[in-house]
Structures are given as structure tokens and as C-alpha cells.
Amino acid sequence: MTPFHLQHKTILVTGASSGIGQQVAISISEMGANVVITGRNEGRLTDTFKKLKNTNHQQIIADITNESDLQQMIKVVPMLDGIVHCAGVVKPFPIKFISKEKIKETFTVNYEAQVELMAQITRNKKLNKQASIVFISSISAAHPHKGGALYAGSKAALESFSKVIALEFYTMGIRSNCIAAAMVKTPMYEYSEQNASKETMDEHINKYPLGVGKPTDIANATIFLLSDASKWVTGTTITLDGGFLLGGM
């Protein structure tokens, strides 16, 4: 029997209303998982929910940056065999304009919410033994870009946090890993395209030997990390960049 499946696993996906989170939810449902999706936007979350294959799924409308939403979610969430943290924002801002408010804007969503969620989930014993945690990070954590102080910083913090989870929960067989993605075609990509100049964006994309990524590329690696096929993989980051970091183009 192949270990590359998610049968009998219940997986929570945050940020499931769009982009990578939505595709992860769909793909893991196709691999047999019972999926619990959360997101802030009811309409878009329901869209994702309708796209899930098979049954036995659950949707929880929640803003995980909001304390009472988080508490409510912890109450209703079932025992989990995996969590995929996809919630995130990207807002380029040059260093000299950074304020407390700007730091909060990015770090609340990209770091604090994931940390608080993990604290509550573990404290409330909602993780089964052998559970697998996946954080969607970015290559910018280790290879930042101009204007990326907050985004890259929040992802670097997240990657460190993932390693601490791996250390604190290995006795339960719980694993934690990150996926450092380069440019992937999502609404966040469209947003970046609006904010960078078109020329800058095109120039960037030309540096990808295998082209920019698709949400399914990220979902497939996530399936591996959630499945028992990766049972010896923990505390690490898998880079998915279509060859971008080779730097030869």
C-alpha cells in the first residue's frame, strides 16, 4: 500500500478562501483527507467548500487573528492529523516608512496568528499522534527582496517557529515543516503585479527555468508532507522555486 495518500486523516487548512490555501484544501480532499477549512470571507470559503471532493468536510468561518474567533474555532475543531497554515499577506514597504502599525499589519496575519493557533491547538490537545504541520513560507525568508522587510521577516520567523514545534512535539511523533515557495500564480501574485512595475515582474519571471509555480505545485508538496511518506522529514524547509534560485538565468 502506497504511503502517498491522506485516507483517515483530518486536516485543518487556514487561509482556504483563495490562492494556495484553496488549492491545498481541494487537492488534499482528492487524496482522501477529511478537510476542515477556515477563512474570513464566508462567500469565498463556501466556494472552496463546494469544490472539495468526497464528503466529510467541515468549514469554519473565522478570522484567526481575532481572539474570540480563534477560541470559538478551537472549540469546534475536531481532532487533527495535520494543519496547513496558508493564511498570509504581502505588503511591500520600504524600511524608512515602517511603523508599529505596519509591522502589526503583516506580523499579526503572517506570524502571530499561526503561533497562537498552534498554542491553542496543542494546549487543548487537538492534535493526534503522528500529526504533521505544514507552514507555507516563501523563498524571501532566506532571499529577501527590496520592500520585503516585513514580509520576509515574518516568513523567517515562521520558519524558526516551525523548527521549535518539531523540537517540542517530536515525542508524540508530531512533525513540522515549511514550504518555501517562489512566485506562484495566485490572487497574491496579481496583487504583487499591481504593486511592482510590469517590467520588474516580467524580468523576474524570466529568471524561472521552469516558469512560475501553480497552486497545485504547492499542494502536491503539501500532500507529501502531510502523508506518512514523509514520516522521517521534520524541522525542514522544502524549496519550490522552479529553479529560480539556481541563479543561472
Binding site: P92, F97, K198
Partner: protein, 76 residues
Amino acid sequence: MDIGDFIKKIENEIEEITPGVLKADTNYRNIPGWSSMHALIIIALIDTEYNVTITGSDIRSCQTVNDLFTIVKSRV
């Protein structure tokens, strides 16, 4: 809102510009050494000083400092 003040703020933030050179009808893309970093700075400056959100596509669709000022004024 005053365009003179707007220009001064931009001049102050972009080191490559000699103060007094930037005019309302200057095409900012012709500023020597103009790059995506300058676009980021202008977006952040407008966000910080005027609490107005402009995007990279606004920067692309505008030509002159005055075009940009008109957008900012319309969104204050």
C-alpha cells in the same frame, strides 16, 4: 493639499533628485536612476503622509508628478 508641498516631500525622500529640479510637469520616469525601489518609496510616502493607497499600476498609468498628485487628491 498643495502640489509644492507634495513635490518637496518626494524630493526629500528620493536622494537622486536635486532639490528644486522636480516640477509638476516632470515625467518622474525620466529621473536619472529611476527604479522599482523609487516606486515603492512613492507608494509608501503617499500612504504615510496622506493615508491614501495608490498602486504600482497607478504609478505606471501616470506620467507626471501632477498626474500622481491628481490621483492622491481625488482619494484623500
